[in-house]
């Protein structure tokens, strides 16, 4: 069995190197702002830039609203499709995959065409309207991830029987979703939320074309003007993204446990 293990480790090491070497190189480069010595100067420079906080805060807020809207759209949709219209699931699967296939550029051009300042619904004529548009776009972008996270969460509990048990106890649909379904898929929802957050924080195309002060366009702007700060920013956004992914793993341990014991 030993040779097998050797090859397995080799493949693993090569794969790990493919991801880690560029990251490590970026990290080392980000420390070389000061000539001939390693320092965190690039990070200090990033953190002392007020635009960093402005854009990061803006993206954070948009991310939070995106998550709330995403949950309000996806949870009832998945619940009713699983419960009442299971035949619609393939359609749902297809529709929620579309944002992965259609480029963000197409989406945003469509938005601008439909909602420009001379259209019937002129979302782009005000900053707030454009924020709404941006949130809508992010909900769409995050749909494949949010849908799958919620769908997986609902797969682990018997929503049909739990719904009936709550119904016969006198609960209405709102009480069932709010008090039974949501708490039981909370961990799945949070997984979807962190994935959504990771997408929103780094997104460039839509935010840039809608001309909103988001973190993505800021990252790109810094990249074109400075040398070391972009490397530091890349490492920072990696840490944020990985932090979000790590949270998904941690939360998995708190998923509700069911037990079909026969004793």
């Amino acid at each position: 069995m030993k040779p097998n293990k050797f090859w397995a480790w080799l493949v693993f090491a090569l794969g790990a190197a493919y991801f880690l070497v560029p990251l490590l190189a970026t990290f080392i480069f980000s420390l070389r702002m000061r000539r001939n010595e390693l320092s965190f100067d690039a990070y200090v420079s990033v953190f002392s830039d007020p635009r960093f906080y402005g854009t990061f805060g803006y993206s954070l807020a948009i991310g939070a609203v995106t998550i709330v809207v995403g949950v309000l759209v996806v949870v009832p949709a998945v619940y009713f499709v699983r419960l009442r219209m299971p035949w619609l699931r393939p359609v749902m699967e297809f529709v929620t995959l579309l944002p992965l296939i259609i480029p963000a550029l197409v989406l945003v051009y469509g938005y601008i065409r439909l909602y420009n300042s001379s259209s019937i619904i002129p979302f782009t004529s005000s900053a707030f309207g454009t924020d709404i548009l941006l949130t809508g776009a992010y909900v769409t972008l995050a749909l494949p991830y949010m849908y799958r996270a919620v769908d997986n969460g609902m797969r682990t509990i018997d929503i049909g029987t739990l719904t009936e048990a709550a119904q016969i106890a006198g609960a209405n649909q709102l009480q069932i979703i709010g008090q039974i379904i949501l708490p039981n898929i909370l961990v799945a929802i949070l997984s979807g939320a962190f994935l959504t957050f990771a997408i929103v924080i780094g997104e460039f195309t839509i935010a840039s074309l809608l001309n909103r002060p988001a973190f993505g366009p800021y990252l790109v702007g810094i990249g074109t003007n400075k040398a070391y700060e972009p490397a530091a920013l890349a490492i920072i956004s990696f840490i944020i993204t990985w932090g979000a992914m790590g949270m998904i793993n941690v939360l998995g341990r708190f998923a509700p446990r069911t037990s079909a014991r026969t004793d």
């Binding site: 016969i168 106890a169 708490p183």
Partner: protein, 352 residues
């Protein structure tokens, strides 16, 4: 007295299949009713229509004089226990039991008292802080029962509540369910495919097959006087004997060459025609017995020792019948291939 649960011409069709065919029954308050039948016979569909999870294609359901056919499940004031327990995984035992009370708007203090009362009733006092995954299947199902009866429903519905449990727990829990049902006097509809379960705890049983009621009656009536061949074979063990009519007028038949006089023959029976007779294994006796007017001889083809009971297989010729006899600790059980004389009462021979 008017019936408490009344089902009139209840029919349910899924696509082109009619799973419940114009079913009628009426039961009194406080009765324990079992819907018994093989899978696909329509028993669960009837229960789900009573609960409101399925809408009848036609017909009506009345509880305590009120027509509930058009009501939503949460308006029917019924309690239900499911096969898969269906406890809410995010709530502890106390909150599970108190769920219906909370929905009904009962103040927290009263709710707690009612939950404590329920926990005592199901023999799990002090379990309110536990979560369902920390409990055994039997305990979970008892909590589900407490959750169902806590809001004082008009009726209790049990959808194969014992099927997911081990044999031993199944027996003890069914006795517990019956004891609680008698204590509360709550009208209960119990769905099962297990005839022993139905016979042991019901006041009355509805035996179903292919969407129709085959027979409705008390357990002893169902067992002792099966109305149809289906009921006779589905409920309990049944011997079928192939015989030939010798003289229809004299009610004599031949069983593997042995002449026997039966108590009744169908009007259609003609001399020399084949006929099927049935009888329960426990009505047969080894050797003569008071009141048994038929004697048959055969050979023991198999002996199964079941503890208190010994089941013998006796070959009469072409016919092989089962016979149950009590184990006598002072004598050795009969051996295979021994000749044997058995007796029975002609009134126990059923012609179906």
């Amino acid at each position: 007295m008017a019936a408490f649960l009344e089902v009139n011409n209840l029919t349910k069709t899924f696509g082109t299949t009619t799973v419940v065919k114009s079913v009628n029954f009426a039961f009194d308050k406080g009765e324990f009713i079992s819907l018994l039948g093989p899978s696909g016979c329509g028993k669960t569909t009837i229960l789900r229509m009573i609960a409101g999870f399925e809408h009848p294609t036609s017909g009506s359901i009345k509880v305590d004089g009120q027509d509930i056919t058009g009501l939503k499940p949460n308006q029917r004031q019924l309690g239900m226990v499911f096969q898969a327990y269906a406890l809410f995984p995010n709530l502890n035992v106390g909150d599970n039991i108190g769920f219906g009370l909370k929905i009904a708007g009962m103040p927290a203090e009263q709710r707690r008292a009612r939950v404590d009362e329920m926990l005592k009733l199901i023999g799990l006092p002090g379990f309110e802080k536990r979560y369902p995954y920390e409990m055994s299947g039997g305990q979970q199902q008892r909590v589900a029962l407490a959750r169902a009866i806590a809001p004082r429903p008009r009726m209790l519905l049990l959808d194969e509540p014992l099927s997911a449990l081990d044999a031993k727990i199944r027996v003890s829990l069914r006795e517990e369910i019956r004891a609680i049902q008698l204590e509360l006097g709550i009208t209960t509809v119990f769905v099962t495919h297990d005839q022993e379960e139905a016979l042991s705890i019901s006041d009355r049983i509805v035996v179903m097959n292919n969407g129709n009621i085959e027979q409705l009656g008390a357990p002893h009536e169902i067992y002792n006087k099966p109305a149809t061949r289906f009921v006779a074979t589905f409920v309990g063990h049944l011997n079928t004997i192939e015989a030939t009519v010798l003289d229809a007028a004299a009610r004599t038949v031949a069983i593997d060459g042995q002449t026997v006089t039966v108590s009744a023959l169908p009007a259609s029976a003609a001399s020399a025609a084949p006929i099927s007779l049935t009888l329960r294994p426990e009505v047969l006796a080894v050797g003569p017995r008071d009141g048994n007017d038929i004697t048959l001889t055969g050979t023991i083809s198999d002996v199964t020792f079941l503890g208190s009971v010994i089941r013998l297989r006796v070959a009469l010729g072409r016919n092989i019948i089962s016979l149950d006899t009590f184990n006598d600790q002072r004598t050795a059980p009969p051996a295979r291939n021994e000749p044997i004389t058995i007796s029975l009462a002609s009134k126990d021979l059923l012609v179906l």
